[in-house]
Subunit: 251 residues, 2 copies
DNA sequence: ACTGCGCATTTGTATTGACAATTAAGGCGG
DNA sequence: CCGCCTTAATTGTCAATACAAATGCGCAGT
């Protein structure tokens, strides 16, 4: 145990308490002794002990509240695989130099078919923006995209970088909206007749459908996007990385 | 400003420094004054000031190192959308009551075609497990799955819950492997002839292909899984939630 | 000119002491 | 018997100080 002796006290204490929690000395829902007691127990000062408790708290193992004490709320540090993006662009990683071309815009009222497709109430009003996405100078589009935004956000088409940025980020920027949640759904479909010519792909040929739903701070869906990617033109790819809670250890 | 006066000093100081960083008083890469100086500046003690700096550090705005001081490494608290799973089962959210049926196992050496498909070196040895996944008592399979694991993990087929748990988690459990990273790739394909009968789907009809690659702690891929879902039998779905770094504010 | 070592600077860790804020629990009065 | 209010237990906050550890920089020697 050569490294043990050089570890800071508060780390040693945290490690010990964590082990005790995992081994069941302090079970789920149990209350740890009060700070003063623990400090005496470990023969240390209260601030040092508090630092140890703060570590466990950051790891999500305990919850600390005045008068109640420190309660064990988890017995193991959750290790999760996570996929985090800082920009919606990373969600659909298109090559750098793609751009959209707006082919039509209009106001629509969701009929039964559209309502079912978008998972919204029938009769809901949307502003629809239809676009084609191209890679570089290619004349074969990557995909057909129908974007449905709330009518009050129709002005988004006037954004100065409208054909380059994701629409939802334009809305965030122009209207102070916040993306609270994004839902992604991927499925296999057939190219609809109305898109075949524009996509330069045979009607009824296989395609990858991607539907993205964006929910704002008020819990309401403010945008839904449906993309149709003809066979072979696109692969959806992402990675999840291992991540313990409360990042922490040095280096 | 009724709440301001009751905020703890260290919070006030952290807020002030955060604002200064965002407004450019301390730009990206700039060094904050040393702790002693800042303590004097804010007319407080070093421990209190250190608590404020610890907050900013946890938020990822600054990095603190002995002798170097506190360096600004970000001007804004990154807000990310993230998708976190605690079990690989959540990755492909099949209905609760699905199970696999192993149809064949064998050792294979990757030829050029397989190497290209799996993104591995030609000649690589794998143990291949071929399975069909069924929902409940249905006799129509949800998908055909070829799982390729390192030869030393071939014993995974003897796991007591082999047909219920994800293979990679069985490997984690039986061989003390760790999933460091998972890569997911989704694409549209055609049903290969050899799978058509078993899948009860026409050869060459559209399908959704899902390839998952698991990387272990040594950076080596220890498992690759290729699933083929016939049209209409499966949708890939997941959600990303907004998450500010350093969770924290109370309640 | 380059390399290695010492040193001074800066953050990290730990102790002691005191008071404030929060809140669960018990007591008191209607 | 119920509800409000007091009370006390527990964590939260803050200060002053001391020493340890890490490391960039300059100086000296080759």
């Amino acid at each position: 145990m050569p490294s043990e002796k050089t570890l800071p006290r508060h780390t040693q204490i945290a490690d010990r308490l964590r082990a005790d929690i995992q081994s069941g000395v302090y079970g789920l829902g149990a209350r740890l002794p009060i700070e003063a007691e623990l400090a005496t127990l470990f023969d240390t000062s209260r601030p040092t002990l508090r630092q140890a408790l703060a570590t466990l708290s950051a790891e999500g193992l305990i919850v600390r509240r005045p008068r109640t004490g420190s309660v064990v709320v988890a017995t193991h540090v959750p290790v999760v695989l996570s996929h985090a993006v800082t920009s919606v662009n990373e969600l659909l990683d298109y090559p750098r130099d793609t751009h959209r071309k707006v082919t039509a815009t209009r106001y629509v009222k969701a009929d039964d078919a559209l309502a079912q497709q978008l998972h919204c109430a029938a009769g809901k009003e949307w502003f629809q923006i239809t676009t084609l996405r191209y890679a570089g100078k290619s004349t074969v589009p990557l995909c057909w995209t129908d974007t449905y935004v709330l009518p009050q956000y129709a002005g988004v088409t006037k954004h100065r970088r409208h054909t380059l940025m994701p629409v939802c980020e334009q809305i965030v920027e122009m209207f102070d909206e916040v993306i609270e949640q994004a839902d992604i759904e991927i499925f296999v479909m057939r190219i609809p007749k109305r898109m075949a010519a524009a996509l330069k792909a045979p009607a009824d040929s296989p395609a990858m459908g991607v539907m993205r739903t964006y929910t704002g701070s008020d819990g309401e869906v403010f945008q839904t996007t449906v993309s149709v990617h003809p066979e072979e033109r696109y692969r959806y790819r992402f990675e999840l990385k291992r991540e313990a809670r409360a990042a922490g250890r040095k280096r």
